[in-house]
Symmetry: D2
Subunit: 288 residues, 4 copies
């Protein structure tokens, strides 16, 4: 028996107001949708409401349709954005990479063994290096080399590929290109990046070398949504790893790759399991 395999997930968010929880749960109960787990949080700081429900429609598809029919109008009265994810829905995810393969390999492994319930219709890279890895997994690999001159044109191509393949999430798995503000805006809330530092610690180039220079005893990684503020988007999750004096910069890089892979995979899982809610520059995350 596993926890989630046959459950629908309802998520909703809106400005804070009396009755937000009630309108959700009442609509579910009236339409015979059984609640197995629920989390809600009303943030006094951002005055925003988030709710996530794991449910089973006792009357099958009919319960779902009845819920949608009555909830649409009610939710609108609360300015509520909501989504209902079927148990067999697999979000389509585009992965962007450059030359480092540790995050890609980790994601593909977790995907292959079923830990990440998503489809990966394509991998896009500005380098050809990781094509054999994609090939072995049977995933189309698009090589879009980028120079300062070709960047606008290649980003347009990249955006076209994402649309053509109907991707709802883009994962930057150590993709070493900064997205243009325009593309970042188009991907708002649905592009996840991994930064190889505990933001806001070490920004810019070679954070592990900076960390080594300071003699840190911990290195970390931050998974965050991409926005226009480079390396400063809303944080989804962070990971940390201890190091010591015997680790030279290249050792920190190696240690960091483990924590980067794990942190990015966790962020992707949280996103596709609908555990992350974005309000301005802050996230609400209901972990398992």
């Amino acid at each position: 028996m596993t926890a989630h395999e046959d459950l629908w997930i309802l998520t909703a968010q809106c400005p804070s107001r009396l009755g937000t929880v009630d309108v959700v749960t009442r609509s579910l109960a009236e339409t015979e949708n059984y609640v197995f787990a629920m989390n809600s949080f009303d943030d006094r700081a951002t005055e925003s409401f988030s709710i996530r429900v794991e449910l089973r429609p006792l009357g099958g598809q009919q319960s779902i349709e009845r819920f949608c029919a009555i909830f649409e109008e009610r939710a609108a009265a609360f300015d509520m954005q909501w989504e209902l994810k079927a148990p067999d829905h697999r979000p389509r995810v585009a992965i962007l990479v450059s030359k480092y393969d540790h995050c890609l390999n980790d994601l593909l492994y977790r995907y292959r063994k079923g830990e990440l319930a998503m489809d990966i219709p394509l991998i896009i890279s500005n380098h050809p290096d990781l094509k054999p890895l994609a090939d072995w997994h049977g995933i189309p690999y698009f090589h879009l080399p980028i120079t300062p001159e070709t960047k606008p044109q290649q980003e347009a191509e990249l955006w076209q590929l994402i649309q053509d393949h109907d991707c709802e999430l883009v994962v930057l798995a150590r993709y070493m290109q900064v997205l243009s503000p325009d593309l970042a805006a188009k991907l708002d809330g649905r592009a996840i990046n991994i930064h190889h530092s505990l933001l806001p610690g070490f920004k810019g180039a070679k954070p592990y070398h900076q960390a080594w220079d300071k003699g840190v005893k911990l290195v970390g990684a931050t998974a965050h949504y991409v926005n226009n503020d480079l390396d400063e988007g809303p944080i989804i999750t962070q990971g940390v790893q201890s190091v010591d004096h015997s680790h030279y910069p290249e050792d920190l890089v190696a240690r960091g790759q483990d924590i980067e892979s794990q942190t990015l995979a966790r962020a992707v899982r949280y996103h596709i399991e609908k555990r992350v809610f974005l309000h301005d520059n802050r996230t609400v995350v209901f972990p398992d």
Copy 2:
């Protein structure tokens, strides 16, 4: 701004059934009680439902009274046990100790600085050793020495003290006496013990010596509710600490004391913040 200081906490549990969440949230909304955070879990294994709500009565005391008035009957229809904890309610907690002071000192410190929002009307011990520590904190200390002959009589006295001081929780902070089945039954679900091992690992005497003998690389501690099955009550939380070859048994004991103190304090905090639900031999815990 802190998260919890002005919030009421509603908890409820009952057998699994459609509508459990709805009856709670609807009753809250109707009586103008504002929900800030909510967790519910419906366990398919034990077919039981648990819910915890942090709320603020928009209409003050009147909202609370109106809620209690309408919810009592509704809850009864679900065989629901429920409690509503006021923000300023401080549960009264009796602490039982023997000679080890690490858990007691840790609890008293967290209590004194406000991390544990409880009152400690008394400390009871089968030894006089820790009286000075109790004295400094201004807490009455009752010395009830126990021999096989006097145990029934002293346990009766202990029970009387708990009742006289109106304690709703008893914490066994390395209390080295096994409670009789009768007393354990009276304290069912409201006595927390700390076991110095990762149950069900090393039972019986000297678990750290057993651990050392096996050459373990981790030692741990388990906080659990007391029941008649010695060291096997429902687990609330567990902690772990790494060790290595250089640690002799007495070193493991010292390392273990840190993780015992932290684990017990966390369990007590979860209990008094109403985060723990007990269903048969298993717990549902909504951590923060």
Copy 3:
């Protein structure tokens, strides 16, 4: 600059006695072998001595030869077992698997990216399932199906393969066959197994189901040397992962696979980096 890439590793162990450290370091200094890092431990419990030295021969191969020439006799006087590992020596490792692929995939990835400085001349399995994974990595895969009747013969074949391929380490990466006492004895101190529990917690079948039944809040894994006492060999390293009420047995299995993979990979790395010393049923481990 990385810590280890150009360094030789000297390891030695013997019964406790005055002068053990001195005979090692003096012999190194006399032959112009430069010590970069050293750990020694003299265990009062087992009365045994272990030392590990990372060094660079200032006089190149000549320094190494001079050291070996003078140290052999000196070490013998202490009943010292010792080994000197060249920086470019890559131990040959046979991996044994059954059907689970999480540990194998993890090992192959770390091997491929250079984190595990070893060669894998072959993978042996009692099932054909993981052959495609071996193929992609270009590693010969030997399928030795085992029934009660064929076990002795197939174990003989397995042992022959290990010898033919000159393997100095055998890794049981969720190999679901118990080795016979005879084979276990032949592989004494050079076969590593991963057990999916925090030994000595849950032995026998389905430890995650046992753990779930007890309502544990932590699951773990133990990497240990194989010996004749099933699941009770000397522990190399252990890992732990938190779980909660929402995790059903199959969820624990999934969570456990992550910690199994990490724990086994760490044990293998410790072994091939010569960080583990075995004295009777206990290990001394000098981690990085």
Copy 4:
């Protein structure tokens, strides 16, 4: 049996050079000092050598005296600074505090139960608030209020107190005054501060509020030696604690206090157990 109670600790450091380890171990062996544990590290980055030895003089005090007699000259030839700490030597430690009591209470508890083998001849504060805590532990408390005008004079007094009480270590346990460059220089390498952030993350005032504003999922603390670069001294150890969206700034402060206390206590223990070596702005730490 505990690991350390009857052992002497020898520490030494000097510029990197062939023979550093040998001169130490040879001198110990010649004088019948038995080595139980040893760690050395030769840092290619700072070209410095550090060694720590736990030993027992087989010939008692005579072995110690003979060692000192022959080692003094030999060490000088390597420009080696060295110290030999007797098992019963308890370093004298002055603790500086302001109003926060969490670190002080934690240090006093660990001191009282024997985890920190030191003496605390005095506590110094710029506020009177924590005097009762000092009184209960029977430790003299000196109140040195500081204003911009009186700072030089009070720092002179503080320095005098440290000297009069013969303190070899000063612990700033959330002491909210910046030491003057002059006093910092006098205390170089023997004053430990706790910073309530994972340096170099959030410097300056209210790091937890900064952290909350960024929506971090981890908070941390850094224990470091005091130097003239505020909050940037050589790092001894760091700790980390997970947080989430439900934690408002004051909750982060509370969570952070736990990790501050633990991190500072660990740094103090490392220092008094002679595990920390300072080379320029970086430390070598041999943990247990």
